[in-house]
Structures are given as C-alpha cells and as structure tokens.
Symmetry: C2
Subunit: 348 residues, 2 copies
C-alpha cells in the first residue's frame, strides 16, 4: 500500500509530515510518498539526524504550497504545482492509494473533488470525523463543515456513507444512524429535517440502513448513535461546540488540582486517571477526518498536527484503503436516490 | 413586584414550584402567585409542615394542566383552564409583572406569544439562555430552539434583544455581539449567515450594537462573545452539545477519583475544587431561560427543576422585570428593520 502525504500542509510543515511518515513506514509497513519541496524535506530530516531516506519513504518534488488565504475553489488552477494538487494528481493517476494533508480544509475538499472525483452518483463529498463518546466508543458525525447548505438527498447519502464507514472502521455490524435534530419527534426541525427523516425512514424500511430516528445534540457525546447525520453547518457547530466545551472543562479540572500543595499531591495520586482523560481529549491519536464520497481515501489532518498526529492520520488513511468504503458506495448508489415526490427539494 | 408562577409545570410539580415560591417570597421580598390546583398546592405545603400561606404568597386556582404531549400551538384553545394559560392571562391583564413555568417549552412560547403578545415590530420571540464560559462570565445564546427556521431580520432582532439583555443582566456596557458561523471570514456559512452578517455590520456602523463578527462554536464556551446570535436550530444544537459534553466530561472526572482507595482520598483533598466544578455545571443556580421579545418577562424553567431551581427562576424573572428589556426593544424597534435591498429574504 502506498500513501501520498502532503509534506507542506499544516502549521508544523514539513517536519511533522516528514517524521510522521517515517514512523508510519517503519511501524505500519506502508510505503509513503512525501510531496513537497525536496530540499526542505531533506534538510528537515538531516536536522533530525537522518542522512538517507529510509526504506519505504520517497520524495516527490512539488515547488509550490497552498496558502491558508487562497480561495479554496481555485487552488487547482492557481496552485497547479503545489504539494496538495500534485499529491492529489498522483492519487488520481494511481501512483498512490490514499492522500493525507494537514493543509486548508476547503482547498483539500475542493481539489479532491475536482481531481480525484466523487463516487459516481454521490452529490457531495462530506467530512466524517470520529467523536469519542461516554460509552467508550466513537461516533461518526457526517457532515461537519464541507457543505453548509444541504438537501435531503445529500443527507440521505451522508447516512449511507456514515453507515458503511462505521461498519468498516468501528466494526459495528448494524450502525445506529440518527438524524441531528432539536427534538425526538418526527415533526421536529425545519423542512430539511422533516424531509430527510422521511427518506431515512424509507431507507430503514427497505433494510438499507438502521435508522434510529432523531437525536438531540445532548445525546451525541453520550453515545446515543453510531452515525449522526447533519447538514454541514449544524454538524460543524456541534463538533466545534464539543471541542470548546472539552477545553473549558479541562481547564476546570486543572484548577481542581492547582489550588494548593495538597491538591497538587492529590494530582500525583490521580495521574493515571488524568492521563486517561487527557488521552480522550487528544485528537492526535484519533487521526484526522476522512472525506467520504471521494473515489479514493483522502484524510484531512488537523492543521496543528505534530509528528504523532501525522502518524495517526497516515494510519487512518491506510485503514480506509483496507475498508474500501468507496466501493460499497459505488455498488449501492441506486439505493440513495430520492423518490419523485421529494424531487423538488433535492436539487441544488 | 408580583411574579406569577405555574405551580403545575415540570416533573416535580407542584412541590418544586410551591416551595421555590415560598423561598422567593421570603428571601427576595417579592409577591408570588401560585397558579394551579389549589387543593394539591395546599396539600403539598401541609406535607412540608406549612399550614397557612405565608405573607406574600397567594394561590390562584386553575383546574387543568398542560400535558407534555399537547400540541404546543393549540394549548391556548384546548387548555383554557390550565395553570399555564390562566397564569399567562393574569400576566397579560396586569395581575402580575412576570411569569415562570417549568412546563412544555413549545406550549409556553406559543401561549406567551398569543396571550402576552410580542413587542410591537418584533417578528419572533426567542429563547436566550445564559451559558457559563471559561473566562468566568456568561454568554447570552439567542435563539436556541424557539425558531428552527429564521430569516436575517429575525437574527438582526435577536442581536438587539441579546445585546439589551446582556447590558442589563450581565452588566456589560457594550456587549460583544457575534454571529454563530462555521468560520471567521464574512464569506462563511449559508445565505442566512452572509445576509445576517451584512445587517449586523450595518447596525454596528450605525452605533446600535457592537458587532464582533462571526464566532465559531468552539469559541462560545471559551467566552469569545457576550451575545451569540444563531438561528434556533443551530443555537439549540450548540446549547445541547455543550450540555452533553459537560455531562460526558463530568463522568470522566468522576472516574479519575473512583479508581482506587488512594484516588478516593485524593478526591476528599480536592473536594472544594470538585464542588466548584459541580456548581458551574449546575443549571439550578443559573435560573431558567428568558423568552425575549414578549411584552413582559416570561421565564422557562428547566423541566426537572427542583425547589432551588424554581427559586432561581423566580429570581431571574424578578431581575428581568427590573431590567426592562421589553421597553428598550419597543423604543428601538425602528433600528431593527431590514433595508429594502434585503427585503426578499426577510419575509416568511
């Protein structure tokens, strides 16, 4: 297996990507191609005492870099020689099985759609991060920012994509798919939710997915579903709201132990439990976010990814290749169409 | 000041309301009218050793009770003699200055709009709960569930309502008003966000509000704004997402101390800090949620409110009466209209 990695994306480029790639080649036995400015990558490796490229690691030179201020929709044209565009082209050409980048989310999504293409019949690619939950498991939240405005058909397809992904990655046989809403009853929400509810119910009745009804945001971190389907706007609000609350709560926990000498001692006694809590909040071990609906796996790593985070994003990409979600989607695309009576709401 | 309280709303009725009202009359020096089944309220007080109604507390009999399964829009017709409808009618008739209920949110919103009416010119009443933040302050999140589908004009009005409310209740001179969005740039979000952004910017330039731009959900619990403006759907998702994450994190904190004998001892050492964390998560001391845009203060108390929570909701109602937000709104309604060029998106 061959993973193409954008060496120049993210705050800690190229070090994080280069060293994370080395770790992946060594520990996972995958081949990694680092795409970016060759001399910078080599200089970085040298700084870390590595004089020759280890086995399984290659460099593919790309002169340019996508900037966070570039217009996402036009990087394919304006940044033809960037590490992101060159890497995605390699993926599309069969020179790799997956692509990982810590660069601009918008640019990655747009370029992946244009270069690697969506699965035939899939209307929109979506982002499906894994959220840790109280039950000790993880939940796929799809979409969470790729598509601010959605139709019921997009959400129906997100449900299928999330369900296949959960089956393969979380090893849940019949993932409970729920629709993010502001109440449990099927009359809740706006037109988008009501119409999507009807579509998901039909898909459930046909045995295609295991639809568990609406879910309120409160029950998502508590583990109420395996897959949470949302338009990109509210999904993003939920994801970021969870992040911010976790940070806030972590600061409160820190205060518990920093009050005085005795509470600091208590902190030492509790250090295992504290480490476990920190581990749950550490996105670095979760990996990045898979773009679902693209013909080949593309993983968006966190912008501030370090060596460890890049390693886990590459691991996640390798797992996605093995899972073969794109194939599942292609084979089942007929089940994801919208019945005629709802057609007026499904186009954009 | 006279606060009308729905004695029959919520899971712990009538005990929570009756006892909370007694506490409020005693500690705040306000008059309280308990609306509901007289004999049940008296029997409840008797159970708690209270034989005669204390000074400042009255009972207004209402035979019926709004049920959680009633259609919210029709309770005014179908439950004419319910404690909620009778209480709101008393408020409208000038027999009280504010109304508090732990009953159904939808029914309360609908009945308050029909009976007590919206401030002239206000398109929609909104719910504006106060969220504790990392900076130790609180943020008004408006709307968070009353209006699933919104127009830019609704959101403009929410911004004004939230800003007056924050000024009066949080004692912030120039509240930082921000628009909930999926990115900081003014090009982010859907049509609703882009058009609202333009309206809020104009209101800022005219000196009406202090618009701080877009805010991502992550920065809300971190204290990034004093007022967060959102459509009811995404506001509800954020509010409930914060709740669920806080519950999840609290369970993780508990685990830290429950590992073994020594960590339990450590928990004793840290009990002050733990109590402080618990206090921040305890909605009971925050009070309920004020419905903004109604001509008189109406407070929705949490459905599971106990005596303490009802006391604080009554306190909040009393503070809202003193703040006089409705008057501010009425005087400034001209500033909250939408310019002609955006008129096509402002109707419903």
């Amino acid at each position: 297996m061959r993973i193409v990695v954008d060496a120049m994306g993210g705050d800690l480029a190229p070090d994080a990507a280069a060293l994370g790639a080395l770790d992946a080649a060594e520990k996972l036995g995958v081949q990694v191609v680092l795409v970016g400015r060759g001399e910078q990558i080599l200089a970085c490796l040298k700084r870390h005492g590595i004089e020759t490229l280890p086995q399984g690691v290659e460099i593919a030179h790309a002169e340019d870099v996508v900037d966070m201020h570039d217009d996402p929709a036009s990087v394919v044209k304006t940044r033809k020689e960037s590490s992101m565009v060159v890497g995605l082209r390699m993926l599309a050409d069969g020179q790799g099985d997956a692509f990982v980048s810590a660069g601009s989310t918008g640019a990655l999504l747009s370029a992946a759609t244009l270069i690697v293409k969506r699965v035939r019949g899939i209307r929109r690619a979506a982002m499906g991060p894994l959220i840790p939950t109280k039950t000790g498991g993880r939940t796929v939240l799809i979409d969470c920012g790729a598509n601010a405005e959605c139709t019921p058909e997009f959400l129906l397809q997100f449900a299928f994509m999330g369900s296949y992904y959960a089956q393969k990655t979380l090893a849940v046989e019949r993932p409970r798919v729920a629709l993010l809403n502001i109440g449990a009853e099927d009359t809740k929400g706006g037109a988008l939710q009501k119409q999507t509810y009807a579509l998901l119910q039909k898909a459930n009745d046909a045995g295609y997915i295991n639809f568990a009804g609406n879910i309120e945001a409160r029950d998502v971190p508590l583990g109420g579903a395996d897959v949470v389907v949302a338009d990109g706007f509210s999904g993003n609000v939920l994801l970021k709201g969870i992040e911010g609350t976790a940070l806030f709560m972590a600061s409160l926990v820190k205060k518990i132990f920093m009050r005085n000498f005795f509470t600091k001692l208590a902190g030492l006694v509790c250090k295992q439990g504290i480490a476990k809590l920190k581990g749950m909040l550490d996105y670095r071990e979760t990996g990045g976010t898979l773009l679902l609906g693209i013909t080949k796996p593309v993983v968006k790593a966190h912008g501030s990814s370090d060596r460890l985070a890049m390693f886990h994003s590459i691991r996640q990409a390798a797992e996605a290749v093995e899972a073969g979600v794109a194939q599942d989607l292609a084979q089942n695309i007929d089940k994801m169409t919208v019945p005629k009576e709802l057609d007026h709401v499904s186009g954009t």
